[in-house]
C-alpha cells in the first residue's frame, strides 16, 4: 500500500499538469483551513460596514468590498470552506450510495439488477441541474440541503460506472476462478471486484468533484444555496450582478476561484486516469 502511494506521488510529480492540479487543490485545502489567519478582515463574514460598500481593490481590500462593505478577499477565503464541505460530503455520500448498488447490479444478472439500473437511469434521465434545483427548492436553501440535493442526483453516475466495470471484471480469469472455487458473492465483490475497479472509481470521483463544485455554485447562483450573509461563491456572483459593470471585481474574484478549483480537480483527475487506468490512457496520447 505504501509503495503504491509512493509510486502515485512520484508519477503525479512527474506529470506537470497533474502537479498543477495537486498544487491548486492543496492550496484550496490550506486556504480553507487557515482562512482565519489568512483573512485580512475575518470579522467581515458576519460584520458589515455599509459606508465602505462597493470599493474597488486596494491595499486595504485586495479584491474590493461588496454590497455590504465587507472585504471580498476575506469572504472568498471562508467561501472555500463551504465549497470544500459541500463537494466532499456530497461526493462521499454519492459514492457510498452509488458504488454498492452498482456492485450488486453488476454482480447479479436478474430482474433486480435490471430494475436497479433502470432506477438509476431515471435519475440520469433528468438533467442533473434540474433535479438538484427541484430538490434544493423543496427542502429550502441551506448548505445541508445543497449537499442532499447533490447526493441525490449524483449517485447514479457511480452506479453506472461500477455496474459496467463489475460486468467486465467478472470476465477476468481470476474472478471467474474464485467464483468457480465457491467464494461467496460478498467475498468476490469485496476482495476481487472492488480492488479491480477502484482506480476507475478514484478517477471518476476526482473529476466528479469538479462537476459537483460547478453544480453547487450554480445552485448558489440561483439563490438555492446557503442564505445570506454566507460567503458562498455562487451566491456572491449572483449578488454582484446588480452592481455590474461598475463593480467588476465583485464578480471576478469568486468566478476565478471556482475556475481554479475545478481546474485543479480536472487536472488531477486526468493525471490519475493516465497513471491508474491504462485503458483510457489514450486521452493523453503520444
Amino acid at each position: 500500500m505504501f509503495e503504491t502511494v509512493k509510486f502515485l506521488i512520484k508519477k503525479l510529480v512527474q506529470d506537470r499538469t497533474a502537479a498543477i492540479g495537486v498544487f491548486l487543490i492543496l492550496s484550496l485545502i490550506l486556504i480553507a483551513i487557515f482562512a482565519p489567519i489568512l483573512a485580512t478582515h475575518p470579522a467581515d463574514i458576519t460584520e458589515f460596514h455599509p459606508p465602505e460598500r462597493l470599493q474597488g481593490p486596494s491595499s486595504e481590500h485586495y479584491f474590493g468590498t461588496d454590497r455590504m462593505g465587507s472585504d471580498i478577499y476575506s469572504r472568498l477565503l471562508y467561501g472555500a470552506r463551504i465549497t470544500i464541505a459541500i463537494a466532499l460530503i456530497a461526493i462521499s455520500v454519492s459514492v457510498i450510495i452509488g458504488v454498492p448498488i452498482g456492485l450488486l447490479a453488476g454482480y447479479y444478472r436478474n430482474w433486480v439488477s435490471d430494475a436497479l439500473m433502470r432506477v438509476s437511469d431515471i435519475f440520469l434521465a433528468v438533467p442533473q441541474i434540474i433535479l438538484a434545483i427541484a430538490i434544493a427548492q423543496t427542502l429550502g436553501p441551506s448548505i445541508q440541503n445543497v449537499i442532499l440535493a447533490l447526493s441525490a442526483t449524483y449517485w447514479p453516475f457511480w452506479t453506472r460506472l461500477v455496474y459496467a466495470e463489475t460486468r467486465s471484471a467478472l470476465n477476468e480469469p481470476y474472478v471467474e476462478a474464485s467464483i468457480a472455487l465457491g467464494a461467496s458473492p460478498s467475498r468476490v465483490m469485496i476482495l476481487h471486484v472492488l480492488p479491480n475497479i477502484s482506480s476507475s472509481i478514484i478517477v471518476r470521483t476526482t473529476i466528479g468533484m469538479g462537476g459537483t463544485i460547478l453544480t453547487a455554485a450554480a445552485l448558489g447562483f440561483l439563490g438555492l444555496g446557503p442564505p445570506p450573509p454566507s460567503p458562498e461563491w455562487g451566491r456572491t456572483i449572483a449578488e454582484s450582478r446588480e452592481f455590474l459593470p461598475e463593480a467588476w471585481w465583485y464578480a471576478a474574484a469568486p468566478g476565478i476561484a471556482i475556475f481554479l478549483v475545478v481546474m485543479g480537480f480536472n487536472l488531477l483527475g486526468d493525471g490519475l486516469r493516465d497513471i491508474l487506468d491504462p485503458r483510457t490512457r489514450r486521452s493523453k496520447g503520444g
Binding site: 458576519t46 460584520e47 458589515f48 455599509p50 459606508p51 460598500r53 462597493l54 454590497r67 455590504m68 462593505g69 427548492q137 429550502g140 436553501p141 439563490g223 442564505p227 445570506p228 450573509p229 449578488e239 450582478r241 446588480e242 452592481f243 455590474l244 461598475e246
Partner: protein
C-alpha cells in the same frame, strides 16, 4: 499541405463568428411607439386573474373601471362612471355610467357589463376578489337601467369606494361568447382583450410581452398629443433594462430600481429620471405568535437594534425616506408627529436586559430575488449578533414566503417585506396589517390588540374622513408604542424615461404605467 488548409478554414470560421458579433442590434421601431421594459412576465391578459403591482399595465391600459385613482397624492376620479350616489345608511352605491363609452368592438359599455364583471370576480375568486368578499354578495349588484348600476353592500363600508377602481369592466357579451365549460371565458380572456381602455390589444406572447394600439374611440377622447402604440416587454434582468434605456431601445422602465442603477441612468444623456414619493412601505413583520416575541421589551430592543440610517443612507444611498409608522408618511391619517425608533444599541441592551426568558435562535426572513431584503436582514443580523442574539437568515422566493406567511407554525419569526398601495386608504396598510380579523390572511404578524382593533373597525365604517383620520392616528401610535413591527422607510419612485417622453402621470396605484397622457416631444 492539409495542415495549412485546416488552419485556413478555421481562421475563416472564427472570422465569421467574430464578424457576426459586430452586427449591432437594430432598434428601428415605429416613430410613435412607446416601449416599456417590465420586470415581471405578463402571464395572462385576464384583468380579473391578477391583482398585483408588477403587471398592472395591461389592466389599466386595456381596461377601464368605474372610478380611477390618479396622480400623487392619489385622487379618486370619475372614469366610466360620471357620478355616483351613496344611500343614507352607506350600504347602497349607485353609479351613473358615461353614455358615450364603448368597448373596443364598438358595442356600448352598459350596466349589465358592470354586473357581469363584478359577478365574474366573485365567481373566479382570483385577483381583486378578496377586496369584496366581506362587502359584496354574489347576485346583489343590480342594473337599474342601461347606464345605472347599483351595488348593495352587506354593511356600510368607508373603503368600498376606494376599491371600486379594481373592478375592471369586461364586454360581457364578447366574453360570454367565448365561455367554454362554464370557465367564464378564462381561457379565452387569458390572451385576448374584451375591454374599453385607452389601448386595444394588438399582440401578446407570454414569453415576450404585449403591444397595444391606441383606441381612437375611447370615451374620454384624446388630446393633441398621444402615442399610437405601446409595448410592454418583459426584461427581467435589471442591467438589461437600464442599458436598453440608456441606448434608446426602451423608453421607460419601472421606478423601483436599486440606487446604483438610478445613478447610472441619471448620468445618461438619453434618460430623464422623474422622482415622486410613493406609498410603498418597507417594514419587518414580527411574529407575535412566538413566545419570546410576546415580550414587549424584546420587541422594543429589536426596534432599537435596526440601523435605519445606515440602511437608508449607505445601502440605499439616501434614495428613500424614513417612515416610522405602519402607513406611508404621505397618506392622510398618518401620525406625523411621531418620530418612531432610532438606532440605539444602548437602549436595545437596556430593554434586552429586562427580558427574563431565555432567547432562542430566531429566523430573519427575506425575499429571494429582492436583494434589498437580504441586505436589510444581514444588517439587522449584524447588530443582533453584537447584542449576543443568535439569528439565522432564510431567503426564499415569494411563492414560498406567501404560503408561510399564512401559516401560524411556518411563519418566520420576522420577515422583511414591502406593502404596496392597492387603494389609497390607510386601511390598505394599518387596517389590513394589524386588524384581528385579518390574522393569517393579511395580518401576518398575529398581532391582535383589542384597543387597536376597535379603532380600526370603527374607522372602516365611519364615513367622515376627518374622524377616521383621528382613529388611524391613534391606532398607529398604539402599534408603534407596542413595537408591533419595525417600520423602516417609504419608497421613493425614480421613474426613468427617455428624455423625449412627456406627460407621465405618476400615481402610487399603477406606478405611472397608464399611458394615455404620455407622448413623445
Amino acid at each position: 499541405m492539409f495542415k495549412i488548409n485546416i488552419i485556413k478554414s478555421l481562421t475563416l470560421v472564427m472570422a465569421l463568428i467574430l464578424g457576426g458579433t459586430m452586427i449591432t442590434p437594430t432598434g428601428l421601431e415605429a416613430k410613435n411607439k412607446f416601449i416599456f421594459a417590465n420586470s415581471s412576465p405578463y402571464d395572462t391578459m385576464d384583468p380579473h386573474a391578477l391583482y398585483d403591482v408588477g403587471r398592472v399595465a395591461y389592466r389599466i391600459n386595456l381596461y377601464d373601471g368605474l372610478l380611477r385613482w390618479l396622480d400623487n397624492p392619489p385622487k379618486l376620479s370619475p372614469w366610466l362612471a360620471d357620478s355616483y350616489d351613496i344611500s343614507e345608511d352607506g350600504t347602497s352605491y349607485t353609479f351613473h355610467l358615461n353614455k358615450g363609452a364603448t368597448f373596443h368592438d364598438g358595442s356600448p359599455v352598459e350596466a349589465s357589463d358592470v354586473v357581469y364583471s363584478i359577478e365574474r370576480i366573485l365567481a373566479l375568486k382570483k385577483g381583486a376578489y378578496s377586496l369584496f368578499t366581506k362587502s359584496v354578495e354574489p347576485g346583489s349588484t343590480k342594473a337599474i337601467d342601461a347606464h345605472t348600476v347599483q351595488f348593495n353592500l352587506v354593511e356600510a363600508s368607508s373603503i368600498f369606494l376606494a376599491t371600486v377602481p379594481a373592478i375592471h369592466i369586461l364586454n360581457s357579451s364578447l366574453v360570454q361568447s367565448h365561455e367554454v365549460d362554464g370557465d367564464l371565458g378564462a381561457k379565452w380572456l387569458s390572451q385576448n382583450d374584451a375591454g374599453s381602455g385607452s389601448f386595444e390589444l394588438d399582440r401578446y406572447d407570454p414569453a415576450i410581452g404585449f403591444s397595444a394600439k391606441r383606441f381612437e374611440n375611447h370615451f374620454m377622447g384624446w388630446g393633441d398629443k398621444y402615442l399610437d402604440e405601446i409595448e410592454f416587454r418583459t426584461v427581467i434582468e435589471i442591467n438589461s433594462r437600464v442599458l436598453g434605456l440608456m441606448n434608446g431601445d426602451f423608453h421607460g422602465t419601472d421606478g423601483y430600481l436599486p440606487q446604483d442603477q438610478v445613478k447610472r441612468l441619471e448620468a445618461s444623456d438619453n434618460v430623464n429620471v422623474q422622482v415622486e414619493e410613493s406609498m410603498r412601505i418597507f417594514y419587518v413583520i414580527l411574529n407575535h405568535n412566538r413566545e419570546i416575541m410576546q415580550d414587549i421589551n424584546f420587541r422594543k430592543a429589536l426596534s432599537y437594534a435596526f440601523d435605519y440610517d445606515s440602511f437608508i443612507n449607505d445601502i440605499l444611498g439616501g434614495s428613500v425616506a424614513r417612515n416610522p409608522a405602519p402607513m406611508p408618511n404621505n397618506i392622510w391619517g398618518n401620525p406625523t408627529e411621531e418620530k418612531g425608533y432610532t438606532y440605539d444599541m444602548d437602549k436595545a441592551r437596556e430593554y434586552l436586559a429586562k427580558v427574563k426568558k431565555p432567547i432562542p435562535e430566531f429566523v430573519l426572513g427575506a425575499l429571494a430575488g429582492y436583494g434589498q431584503t437580504g441586505q436589510a436582514a444581514a444588517l439587522f443580523q449584524n447588530s443582533l449578533t453584537k447584542l449576543g442574539l443568535k439569528t439565522r437568515i432564510v431567503e426564499e422566493p415569494w411563492s414560498v414566503v406567501s404560503k408561510k406567511m399564512r401559516d401560524e407554525q411556518q411563519m418566520y419569526d420576522s420577515l422583511f417585506i414591502w406593502k404596496s398601495t392597492y387603494y389609497a386608504d390607510p386601511n390598505n396598510w394599518i387596517g389590513e396589517l394589524y386588524s384581528c380579523d385579518q390574522i393569517g390572511a393579511r395580518n401576518n404578524s398575529w398581532y391582535c390588540n383589542p384597543e387597536v382593533d376597535a379603532l380600526l373597525n370603527a374607522a372602516r365604517v365611519e364615513p367622515d374622513q376627518a374622524k377616521r383620520a383621528v382613529n388611524y392616528k391613534k391606532a398607529a401610535k398604539l402599534v408603534m408604542d407596542d413595537a408591533g413591527g419595525i417600520f423602516v422607510y417609504n419608497t421613493v419612485w425614480f421613474g426613468p424615461y427617455n428624455k423625449d417622453v412627456k406627460g407621465v402621470r405618476f400615481s402610487p396605484i399603477g406606478n405611472a404605467q397608464e399611458m394615455r397622457w404620455v407622448y413623445f416631444d
